[in-house]
C-alpha cells in the first residue's frame, strides 16, 4: 500500500464524486413522471412515445420524445434471463409508435395505464402473461438470439387495451411500420386513427420526434382556441 497524503485522498474522493455526478443517464427532460400541467408547461404535446429495442424487442414508454435510465428502471422491474433489463444505448432504441391523444389528461392516463399493464405482465400476473406468449419447443418464450418479438407485440396489445379500456377518443397513432399494428379487429375504429411516420433516417430520429411534438402542440393550441371561442359564445348566449 503506497503512502497517500490526506490531500491526495481527498482529491481522489472528490474526483470519483464528480465522475458519478457527470454520468449521463439519458435525456434530462425524460427524467421523472410528468403530470398534465407539467407537460403543458414544458411545451410538450399530449403524446406517448413507444420505443422498441432493436436488440431484445422490448418496448419503452415515454411521455417525451426521449428516454432516461429512470424510465428503464421503472418499467423493467423484476428482470430475468428472458426479460433482461435493457441497456440505455441510444442506438438500440428506435421509435415504434407515436400516440397523440385528445388532451393532456388522456396522455397522462394512457402512459400510466401502459406502465400499469407492464407491471401486471411482469409482476402481478406473470403466469397469465407467460401463458399468452408463443413458446419454442422447450417451453420458453420464443426467441432468436436475444430477440423476443413477443415484447413489442404485447406493447401493441397493451396500447389497444388502454385506449379501449379508458375510451380515449380521437387518438392518432403514427406507426414506424404499418405491419406492427396487426389486424384491424384489435382496434376500435371510432377511437383510433392509424397513420405512418414519415420515412426518416435513424440518425435523425430525435429531430423527427421533436418536429412531431411541435406540430402536435400547435394543433392542440388551435383546438383549444376554437373550443374557447365556442364556450365564450355559449356563455354570452
Amino acid at each position: 500500500m503506497p503512502m497517500r497524503l490526506r490531500a491526495e485522498k481527498k482529491m481522489r474522493k472528490h474526483l470519483i464524486e464528480q465522475l458519478k455526478a457527470r454520468k449521463v443517464l439519458g435525456a434530462r427532460i425524460a427524467e421523472g413522471k410528468k403530470t398534465a400541467e407539467e407537460l403543458r408547461r414544458l411545451n410538450l404535446a399530449p403524446q406517448v412515445y413507444l420505443f422498441k429495442n432493436l436488440f431484445s424487442g422490448q418496448v419503452l414508454y415515454s411521455q417525451v420524445p426521449a428516454f432516461h435510465q429512470d424510465q428503464i428502471d421503472q418499467q423493467f422491474v423484476r428482470p430475468n434471463w428472458e426479460n433482461r433489463k435493457p441497456s440505455r444505448r441510444n442506438d438500440l432504441w428506435r421509435v415504434m409508435c407515436v400516440a397523440t391523444f385528445d388532451n393532456y389528461d388522456y396522455a397522462v392516463a394512457a402512459f400510466r395505464g401502459l406502465v400499469q399493464l407492464r407491471q401486471a405482465r411482469d409482476v402481478v400476473q406473470q403466469k397469465e402473461a407467460k401463458a399468452l406468449r408463443r413458446k419454442n419447443d422447450e417451453g420458453n418464450t420464443w426467441y432468436a438470439g436475444q430477440y423476443r418479438p413477443t415484447y413489442s407485440q404485447e406493447a401493441v396489445a397493451d396500447l389497444a387495451h388502454v385506449i379501449e379500456e379508458f375510451e380515449l377518443e380521437n387518438t392518432k397513432l403514427m406507426w414506424e411500420n404499418a405491419w406492427r399494428r396487426g389486424d384491424d379487429k384489435h382496434w376500435s375504429a371510432e377511437l383510433v386513427q392509424h397513420e405512418t411516420l414519415p420515412p426518416f433516417n435513424p440518425r435523425d430520429q430525435n429531430i423527427l420526434l421533436d418536429e412531431l411534438r411541435a406540430k402536435a402542440v400547435e394543433e392542440f393550441a388551435k383546438l383549444r382556441e376554437t373550443e374557447e371561442h365556442q364556450e365564450e359564445a355559449s356563455v354570452i348566449a
Binding site: 400510466r112 399493464l117 405482465r121 400476473q125 399468452l132 407485440q153 379500456e165 405491419w179 396487426g182
Partner: protein
Amino acid sequence: MSMRIPVRTLSSCVANLARAKKLSFGDLSKVQLREPIVPTHKNFDVSPDHPLWAFFPEGNKSESALRGSDEVELNSREWTFPELRRKSFEDLHRLWYLTLKERNILAREVRLAEALRYSRTQQHEALDEKLVTVQKRIKQVLLERQVAYERVQTFTEQQQAYLAEFEERYLNAGADEIVSYNEKLVRLQYALFGIQPQLQDYNLEEDINIKFVNGLSYVSNLKLKRYLDRNPNVAKTFELPLNGVVEELPFLLRGVDEAVEEVQALRESGENVKLDKIQVFPFLRSALANAIEQEQQEFQ
C-alpha cells in the same frame, strides 16, 4: 380574461364527471391481459416490381418461397464451350448475370431450407453446380479471347508481311472482286488497327491511338494507289505522298473519288497543313465527332 379561466376549469370538470370510465386500472390482479398483437403484412401493399422479387424463381408470380426437389429444373444442361465461343461479349455478359441471378435464387432457397430443417436440397445443389460450371466456362472463353488478342499484338513481323501481301492482292484485284476485297479491308482494319466499321461505334477517347493513325495511313495510301492506277490522268496532276492525317482522313470517311476531290480542294485552299504530333489525336477526335454528328443528322 378573468372570465375565461373559471369557465375552462368548469368545463374540464364537467367533461371528467361526464366520463363513465375511469382513467386508471384499479386492481392489477383483476385486469384481463390481452394476447400479443401479431404484426401482419396485410396492412400494406408490396410493389410488384420490388427488387427483392428477383430472388424468387417466378418473380412476383411466385406462390411459394421454397421449391420442392421435384420442381427444380433437372433436364437442363450446361452451356458448352463451342456454344459460348460463338457468343459476343455482350451476350456472355448477360449470360453471366442470368446465371448469377439463378444461383442467388438457389442459394436463398437452400438457406431457407436449412432454417426450416428441410434436408432435401440435393437437386438445388446439383443445379447450382451446373450453373457454376457455366460461369467457369464463360470465364475460360473470355480468357481464351484475351490470350488470342494479346498474342496477335506480338505478331508484328507477320502482320507486316500480311499487310504487304494484302496490298498486292488488293491492287491487282479485278472489278468483280473489289467489293469483297473492300469488305475484307474493313475487317482487316478493325482487326489490326482497331478502326471501327461503323462510325457510331467509336469511343473517341480510347479508339484514337497510335495504331489508329498507322492504320489510317495504310488504308488511305492503299485506296489512293489503286485509284491512281485506274485513273492515270488524275495521277499526272496528283502529288504524292499524302500529307499527314488531314489528307488521309477523307479516305476513311468517304468514297475514293470524293476523297481525292476533297484532298485537291484542300491543297488548293492551302488548308492541308501537316499537323504536329501533339495535334493529331485532338484533330482526329474533333473531326470524327463532327462526322458522327453529321451522320446522325442525315439519319434523322
